[in-house]
């Protein structure tokens, strides 16, 4: 069990970590696509169900309530003992440990440490089965959250460490489908730079990156924010949204690829040039995204850069 020895829940764990594992709820992490079986199937049938669904264990359900779990380990035992044609009813584990969907991630971690199961069914407050969670789901969530937090901390450290360096920091909220205001944040950023008499080429590159990221949040996300930092060496734009995330980041970075609908295209957007444009004008470009959890794009534009504008 990979989670077991990570020992996340220590008294001296960094507060950010504790924050993450108490903030995230089981229901945000669990798989909701449920594969279940009644107790009247044979172990052989249960094996086929697992194989087809590519899972290693399934809840056994009767009248919407879990009465047991059958796992790949039970299947192996049945092969060894040659009872594959018997019903799961007699061989499933019945001391099922469940998690509730409103519990924080911390509970999930504790359960995986305490009980030696590979997965836990998740029930809601009406005791109805609503999902299933594996240690893999938890690791995935932790990595994603920590990635976000590290990115955030890094930008904070940059501004805290040397107050002289951060000459500017602005945050703009961007609303979903708010085309009326789209372009506002980037124009404000442009004005901030223009007022400080920066080289027009630098101003343009920052403007292009800010504009495309701003429009992306408006078009594709449920809303988010654009952060703008400026110091003596560079401009940094961080675009952050909370959902829905990008299914295939590599594809999204490809010129001409777009998921925008026709209404958006008729406005002259959605040509699949946004992210490629940002990357082109940036000296440093990072993107992290996960379906259902959102996207963070960071574009760094150096003041003394020879990159194309």
């Amino acid at each position: 069990m990979p989670v077991k020895n990570i020992q996340l829940l220590q008294e001296n764990s960094p507060s950010i970590l504790l924050d993450v594992i108490y903030r995230s709820k089981i229901k945000d992490i669990m798989a909701t696509k449920l594969v279940t079986a009644p107790s009247t199937v044979t172990i052989k049938e249960a094996k086929s169900i697992m194989k087809e669904a590519e899972v290693t264990g399934i809840p056994i359900v009767e009248d919407n309530e879990i009465i047991g779990m059958i796992s790949i380990d039970d299947v192996f035992r049945a092969i060894d003992g040659d009872y594959m044609d018997e019903l799961v009813l007699n061989h499933m584990s019945t001391d099922v440990i469940v998690l509730e969907d409103d519990m924080p991630l911390a509970f999930g971690i504790t359960y995986f440490e305490k009980f030696k199961y590979g997965r836990f069914p998740v029930i809601d407050k009406n005791r109805k089965l609503v999902g299933i969670i594996t240690s893999r789901d938890i690791l995935h969530e932790l990595l994603f959250q920590l990635n976000h937090e590290v990115a955030r901390l890094e930008s904070e450290i940059r501004s805290d460490n040397d107050p002289d360096l951060t000459t500017l920091k602005e945050v703009f909220k961007i609303k979903k489908m708010d085309f009326a205001n789209a372009g506002k944040a980037s124009n404000e950023i442009k004005k901030l730079l223009k007022d400080r008499n920066f080289d027009p080429k630098f101003v343009r590159r920052v403007s292009v990156a800010a504009y495309e990221l701003e429009i992306n949040i408006a078009i594709h996300s449920d809303g988010g924010e654009l952060e703008f930092f400026l110091d003596k060496k560079k401009a940094v734009i961080v675009a952050r949204d909370s959902s829905p995330g990008i299914e295939n980041v590599e594809l999204a970075l490809k010129q001409g690829f777009s998921t925008a609908d026709n209404t958006i295209k008729s406005l002259g957007f959605g040509a699949g040039m946004g992210l490629p444009n940002v990357r082109r004008v940036s000296d440093e470009f990072n993107i992290t995204s996960e379906l259902g959890r959102g996207t963070i794009v960071q574009a760094v534009i150096l003041i003394d850069s020879q990159e194309g504008s």
């Binding site: 372009g183 403007s207 292009v208 444009n277």
Partner: protein
Amino acid sequence: MKISDLELVEGFKVVQPDYEDTEIKAGYTSDLLSDVMANAGEANVLISIQAHKNTLAVCKLLDIGALVVCNGRDTDEEFMDIAKRERIAVFVTDFNQFKVSYLIGKML
């Protein structure tokens, strides 16, 4: 040439005459705003059928001083207000983008 020279082009109607009359050295023709963002270069006139607020946002970001709206596309009041506030010249014409590009191109 200057932006004001566009007022003399037959078939062009200036609908937002309160603009800064800057020099036009180049133009760009496109209906894709991201394409404009990426490639407009030093253009100071944008030839497009996109006549909405975001077109103006792009013009402003790229210091494009004039917009020629082709194919007789309508412009609404809010659009005009922003164009006026930002002092971006707006021309409307029934010509298509090709014809407009040709007409302006030969004046450069």
